[in-house]
C-alpha cells in the first residue's frame, strides 16, 4: 500500500492535533442506540459520522453533526449487531479522519442505574410514611397545636354572637387536587361547629364536582351533630368555573350577606388578594390557608390567621384525627428530619472535601 504525501500529512495532523472518537452502548436504554462521542483540538466546521459492520468494510456516512456538539446517539441500529465507527471532520486545514473505534454492540438494560438515587429516595420516603400510617392505627400519635385552628372556634363563635353567617371558600381547583381534599376535611369540622350553633354556612365552589362533595360533607356533618334540619343544599352552590367570574360571585356574597367569618382554604391564584381585601373591608375575621407559595404573602398580610403551606395538610389531619392522616404527617416529619440530617452531612462533607457525597444527589445524567 502506498501512502501519498497528503495522507502522511493527514496522519501527521491526527497525531499532532488529533481527533479521537469513542463509541459505547448508550447506558440505561432499551438497547436501541449506540452513543458516539468525540474530542478534537482542531476547530472544525462540520462533523460526519461514519459507520460499518466490519472493521475493514466500507464506512458509510450516517449523520452530519452540528458544530458545538461532541456526541451523537445512533438510533438506526439493529440490536445485537456489532458496529465500528469513524468520524470525519471538516477543518480549515482540510478533512481529517479519526481512527476506527469498535466493535460496539447495543444491549438492553433492565434497570436504569442512573436513577438509582431517585429509586432509593422514593423507597425511603414511602417506607417512612407507610410505617407511621400502620403505627397510627395501633396507637395515637401526637400532633402539635396549630394556632390558626385554635382561632377557628372563636371565629365561628363570634359569627354566632353577631347573628351573621360564615363563608367557606374551598379554593378554585377540583377535588383531584390534594389541597382541595385537605380543605374538604377541614370543611367537615367547620360545618359541625356551625351546625351545632345553628349559624348559616355559605360554601360557593368553582367546580361542579367540588360542589357535590362539599354538599355531602356538610350534610354528613349536620347529621353527626344531630341537626340534619340545619342543612340547606342551596347554601352550597357552584358559581362558575371561571376564575374572575367566581371571585366576583364570592365578593357579591361578602358584600350582600356580610359574613362575620371568612375561611379561604385550598388552592388560590391571583384571586387571593381580591378575596382577602374585600373580606377585610367588610370587617370579617379571616382565616386562610394554602400550599401555593406565591399566594401566601397576601393571606399573611390581609388575614387574621394563615395556615402556611404544609400546615394546611397538617390542619386537616389534626382535625380529622384519622390514623391515616396523622400517620402520614408523622412520616413526613421523619422525612424532614432526614432532610436536615442530609443537609448537615452534605455541608460537613464539603468542609472535609468529600465530593462523593455531593455526587450521590446528581439526578440528571
Amino acid at each position: 500500500m502506498c501512502i501519498s504525501l497528503f495522507d502522511m500529512f493527514l496522519i501527521f495532523l491526527i497525531l499532532v492535533k488529533g481527533i479521537s472518537v469513542n463509541a459505547y452502548d448508550t447506558p440505561n436504554d432499551d438497547g436501541s442506540s449506540v452513543t458516539v462521542s468525540w474530542e478534537s483540538d482542531i476547530p472544525y466546521s462540520s462533523i460526519l459520522i461514519l459507520r460499518s459492520e466490519q472493521k475493514d468494510g466500507v464506512f458509510e456516512p450516517i449523520c452530519e453533526a452540528r458544530v458545538g456538539r461532541n456526541d451523537y446517539q445512533d438510533t438506526l441500529i439493529v440490536r445485537g449487531t456489532f458496529y465500528y465507527y469513524q468520524i470525519k471532520a471538516m477543518t480549515d486545514e482540510g478533512e481529517i479522519i479519526s481512527a476506527i473505534t469498535g466493535p460496539t454492540v447495543a444491549s438492553v438494560q433492565v434497570f436504569n442505574t442512573g436513577r438509582l438515587n431517585i429509586f432509593v429516595a422514593i423507597i425511603i420516603l414511602f417506607a417512612a410514611i407507610l410505617f407511621y400510617i400502620s403505627r397510627a392505627k395501633r396507637e395515637k400519635l401526637f400532633i402539635r397545636k396549630i394556632p390558626a385552628l385554635a382561632a377557628m372556634d372563636e371565629a365561628i363563635g363570634r359569627a354566632t354572637e353577631m347573628g351573621k353567617p360564615v363563608l367557606y371558600v374551598p379554593g378554585i381547583m377540583d377535588i383531584d387536587d390534594p389541597q382541595t381534599i385537605a380543605s374538604m376535611s377541614i370543611l367537615a369540622k367547620v360545618a359541625e361547629k356551625t351546625a351545632a350553633y345553628g349559624t348559616t354556612l355559605y360554601v360557593p365552589t368553582a367546580r361542579a364536582m367540588a360542589m357535590s362533595m362539599a354538599q355531602q360533607v356538610v350534610k354528613e356533618a349536620a347529621t353527626k351533630v344531630g341537626r340534619p334540619d340545619w342543612y340547606i343544599a342551596d347554601n352550597i352552590r357552584y358559581l362558575t368555573d371561571d376564575q374572575f367570574g367566581y371571585v366576583s360571585g364570592v365578593d357579591g356574597i361578602m358584600l350582600r350577606e356580610k359574613p362575620a367569618t371568612n375561611f379561604y382554604l385550598g388552592v388560590f391564584y391571583a384571586e387571593s388578594l381580591i378575596l382577602a381585601e374585600t373580606g377585610h373591608s367588610t370587617g370579617a375575621i379571616q382565616i386562610a390557608g394554602t400550599a401555593m407559595p406565591d399566594q401566601l404573602p397576601f393571606f399573611v398580610a390581609a388575614c387574621d390567621y394563615t395556615l402556611l403551606g404544609e400546615e394546611l395538610y397538617a390542619a386537616s389531619a389534626y382535625l380529622s384525627q384519622e390514623p391515616v392522616q396523622l400517620g402520614s404527617l408523622k412520616g413526613q416529619d421523619l422525612g424532614k428530619l432526614i432532610f436536615i440530617f442530609v443537609i448537615l452531612a452534605g455541608v460537613i462533607a464539603g468542609i472535609v472535601g468529600f465530593q462523593g457525597f455531593y455526587n450521590l444527589f446528581i439526578s440528571v445524567h
Binding site: 374572575f244 407559595p293 406565591d294 404573602p297 452534605g346 455541608v347 468542609i351
Partner: protein
C-alpha cells in the same frame, strides 16, 4: 379600518372594567360576562384542536387505531354525573388521570426538586470570602429552621420553639419580599393597560 374598530372596542371594554373601581355598574357587569363568554369559547376551541383531536379522535377515526376507543369512552364518562344512576362512572376518568399524574408527581418531585435542592444546600463554608460564608450559613440555617417550623409531631417548646420562631422570621422576610414583587407585577399590568389607552388608543404618547 377593522383594526381601528378593534382598538376602540378594546378601549371601551378596558374602561368598562375600570368603572368598577368607582362602583359596580352595568358596564362592568356586561364586560365581565363578555370576558367569561369569550374566554370559555376560546378554551373550548383550543382544547378541542390541541388536546382532544390529536390525542384521541385523530388516532381513532383517521388512523383507525381502535385502542383509542378506551380513552374516548373514559373521557365521556366525565359526563356521568348527569345521569344519577351511573354517576359513579365519573370515578373512572378521575382515578385514571390521578393514577398517572400522582405517580409522575412523585417521580418528578424527587428527581427535579428534592435531590437538586438538597444538593444545592450543601454550600461551601471554606475557601470563600467571609461575607459569603456568612450568607451560606444563613441559607443552611434558614432552610433547617423553616423545616423545623413545619415539624408537627413535637410541641414547639424550648430549643425547638426557638428554632421554629426563627424559621417564621425567615418566612416573613420571604413573604415580604414576595409581596413587594407582587406589587410590582400588578403595577406593571396597570402600566400595560394605561400604555394601551394612551399610546394605541388616544395616541398622546
Amino acid at each position: 379600518m377593522l383594526t381601528t374598530i378593534g382598538i376602540w372596542i378594546a378601549a371601551f371594554l378596558t374602561l368598562s372594567i375600570y368603572s368598577f373601581l368607582y362602583k359596580d355598574n352595568p358596564f362592568y357587569k356586561a364586560a365581565e360576562h363578555i370576558f367569561v363568554g369569550v374566554s370559555a369559547g376560546y378554551w373550548t376551541v383550543y382544547l378541542w384542536f390541541n388536546y382532544a383531536l390529536p390525542n384521541l379522535f385523530l388516532p381513532l377515526f383517521r388512523d383507525g387505531n381502535l385502542w383509542y376507543i378506551i380513552p374516548v369512552v373514559v373521557g365521556f364518562m366525565m359526563f356521568a354525573p348527569l345521569i344519577p344512576k351511573v354517576s359513579w362512572l365519573v370515578r373512572i376518568p378521575l382515578t385514571f388521570t390521578m393514577g398517572i399524574s400522582m405517580s409522575l408527581f412523585i417521580l418528578q418531585i424527587v428527581q427535579g426538586d428534592l435531590l437538586p435542592q438538597l444538593q444545592a444546600t450543601f454550600l461551601p463554608l471554606t475557601g470563600i470570602p467571609p461575607f459569603q460564608v456568612f450568607s451560606n450559613i444563613l441559607i443552611i440555617l434558614g432552610v433547617i429552621f423553616t423545616l423545623i417550623y413545619f415539624y408537627f409531631s413535637k410541641p414547639h417548646k424550648g430549643a425547638l420553639g426557638v428554632a421554629a420562631k426563627i424559621g417564621i422570621w425567615f418566612m416573613m422576610v420571604s413573604f415580604g419580599a414576595h409581596f413587594g414583587y407582587t406589587v410590582m407585577a400588578r403595577i406593571s399590568l396597570l402600566i400595560g393597560r394605561v400604555f394601551f389607552l394612551l399610546h394605541d388608543w388616544l395616541r398622546i404618547i
